[in-house]
């Protein structure tokens, strides 16, 4: 049983990783890499928020992009309409999170009564409608062409922006980790496992699902805000199904319900994409690099059926059981005690 110890082995490992990430831009002086890793971290935040839905509450949403998009647009619009200062940036993040929170609350109430596939399709429809609104509301969004804006002066230095994103990611991770291992988080897991049974234990499951959806929505909006600033540009692509699928794929590849998995997923997908398309430039066989990219997904399912982190965790605990009991069947103990 894992006890909540601050200095557990895995926490120490995480701490070392964070330190390495902090040191990274000072060691590797490459802006491209900094941007790539920033991108990875931002999508990592998005994917973690998705994991709250998929991994912890068992909800497959095809509309997560709507919250990401709201964050992105909020920040972009406010930074371009007002001054591009840190203050406006912070306010825009808060406003984005608020709007996303309210919207996810309403959408949650409206949709969370539905069963799995139906829920997924309904969220897709709602986020599709939002996309249409963004396309049509050109005075504000500039539609599909989008618009560029200035990021706050300090973020001109990509390293500073990187560190800000990293700090936010760490905060989000800690908050979400606490969230999922709180009593509330346990109820979410119960909902995932057997919603009807959770009800008859006296939990109002709809509340819990809405809470999960709001938390996920708010964090996704944060990711969206950061994303917009990292590009200094926004267009309607932030609201498309592709963003949702990215979040979904990262979560699954990394391992659902692990929180660290989605981060790993983000690393895998973003860097595979980056390096495979890079290979295409140097080796003609990789011209169709997307084929290899697709094969990665397929192999991931075959070799990591529970996602990378999930599968490693399972293997590790199996190995621990083996080592501890040396092939003693679970039955053997029962005889004595049941007498």
């Amino acid at each position: 049983m894992n006890k909540p110890i601050l200095l557990s082995r895995s926490n120490i490992i995480l701490f070392i990783i964070v330190l390495a990430l902090v040191a990274f831009p000072f060691v590797m002086d490459s802006r491209t890499l900094t941007i790539l890793v920033t991108q990875i971290l931002i999508f990592g935040i998005l994917a973690m928020s998705y994991d709250i839905l998929l991994g912890y509450t068992g909800i497959v949403s095809f509309g997560h992009a709507m919250f990401f998009g709201i964050g992105a647009y909020c920040t972009a619009i406010m930074l371009s309409d007002f001054e591009s200062t840190i203050g406006v940036f912070i306010v825009s993040i808060i406003v984005g999170m608020l709007i996303a929170g309210i919207l996810s609350f309403i959408v949650g109430l409206l949709t969370l009564r539905l069963k799995s596939h139906f829920f997924a399709m309904l969220t897709m429809a709602i986020s599709g409608l939002l996309l249409v609104v963004a396309e049509k509301w050109r005075s504000v969004t500039k539609g599909n062409d989008g618009f560029t804006f200035k990021a706050p002066e300090v973020f001109k230095d990509r390293v500073i922006f990187y560190l800000v994103v990293l700090a936010l990611l760490v905060i989000v991770f800690i908050v979400l980790k606490r969230f999922v291992s709180s009593p509330l988080g346990r109820v979410l897991i119960a909902v995932r496992e057997n919603e009807q049974r959770t009800k008859s234990l006296g939990f109002k499951t709809l509340y819990y699902k809405v809470i999960a959806s709001v938390v996920a929505g708010v964090i996704a909006a944060l990711a969206g805000s950061l994303y917009a600033v990292s590009l200094r540009f926004v267009n309607t692509s932030v609201l498309t199904m592709e963003i949702t699928l990215d979040a979904l794929l990262m979560t699954i590849i990394g391992g659902v319900g692990t929180l660290i998995g989605p981060l790993v997923g983000s690393v895998v997908i973003e860097s595979a994409q980056h390096y495979l398309s890079g290979l295409a430039r140097d080796f003609p066989i990789f011209e169709r690099w997307i084929i290899f990219f697709g094969i990665i997904y397929i192999l991931a399912v075959i070799f990591f059926p529970k996602g990378i982190v999930g599968t490693i965790q399972t293997k590790y605990s199996q190995w621990k059981i083996k080592r501890n009991q040396l092939d003693v069947a679970p039955l053997s103990k029962s005889k004595e005690s049941s007498k």
Binding site: Q318, L331, S334
Partner: protein, 235 residues
């Protein structure tokens, strides 16, 4: 009498767990063999191993002088083995009619006759013919699960705790049905209701901790109070 089914030192793993660790028994043609043992002893797993759902990792299962240890479940079933699982295995979204239709291998006169027979035995099923299986009461589900196995012409029936959840009066009917089936079919029965087991069983196999601890004729067990007490907590 010849033995129809023979389990020889059967071992079964589920995942990393070693569940069956040496199960032996024989089911003789035309007899009812009862598997007994406490909860978690491995009775259900034994049946599942016979039908191939949790294939044996060691030892052998022989049916009609064929080694069926490594065969696929549907192949084993098609050799003429019927199965009534302990969780009834009802297809919840399918109606009673559809549940039976899926199960019926061939629609012959004989199978229709048998259907007629079980429907008379369990009139509730007839009453709820078009109702979704998932909406039946617990006992009705049990009846449906039995009927699904009865309508086919099986050489061997594996029945896992048929009396569970049934009203006493229905248990009598089920016993009656089993006795009726016995005329044509060999039966392996897992049963906790010792009254029922002792009444219709011809032989018994006691399983404990995944191993066969005793085989014998039912009469022996009924008379052996010590054995009953040790493994079944009765007497």
């Amino acid at each position: 009498m010849t033995s129809l089914l023979k389990l020889d030192n059967v071992n079964t793993h589920i995942g990393q767990y070693h569940i069956l660790q040496g199960v032996h028994f024989e089911a003789k043609e035309g007899e009812v063999s009862v598997l007994l043992g406490r909860n978690g002893a491995g009775k259900t797993t034994t049946l599942k191993t016979i039908i191939g759902l949790t294939p044996a990792s060691g030892g052998s299962v022989t049916f009609l002088n064929q080694d069926i240890t490594k065969k696929a479940t549907y192949d084993i079933a098609n050799l003429g083995i019927g199965y009534v699982p302990e969780d009834q295995g009802i297809f919840g979204d399918l109606t009673v009619e559809e549940n039976i239709k899926v199960a019926m291998r061939k629609e012959t006169d004989e199978s229709k006759e048998k259907l007629e027979y079980v429907l008379n035995l369990f009139p509730d099923l007839k009453k709820f013919w078009k109702k979704a299986g998932g909406n039946l009461s617990g006992g009705q589900k049990q009846m449906l699960a039995m009927s699904r196995a009865f309508v086919n012409d099986s050489r061997l029936l594996l029945i896992d705790e048929p009396s569970k959840g049934l009203a006493p009066i229905v248990i009598e009917k089920v016993m009656e049905a089993i006795v009726e089936m016995k005329k044509q079919t060999t039966i392996v029965l897992v049963e906790q209701n010792f009254i029922m087991a002792s009444k219709i069983g011809d032989s018994f196999t006691l399983i404990d901790d995944g191993k066969t601890v005793r085989n014998g004729a039912m009469k022996e067990l009924i008379e052996d109070d010590e054995l009953k007490h040790k493994y079944l907590g009765i007497g």
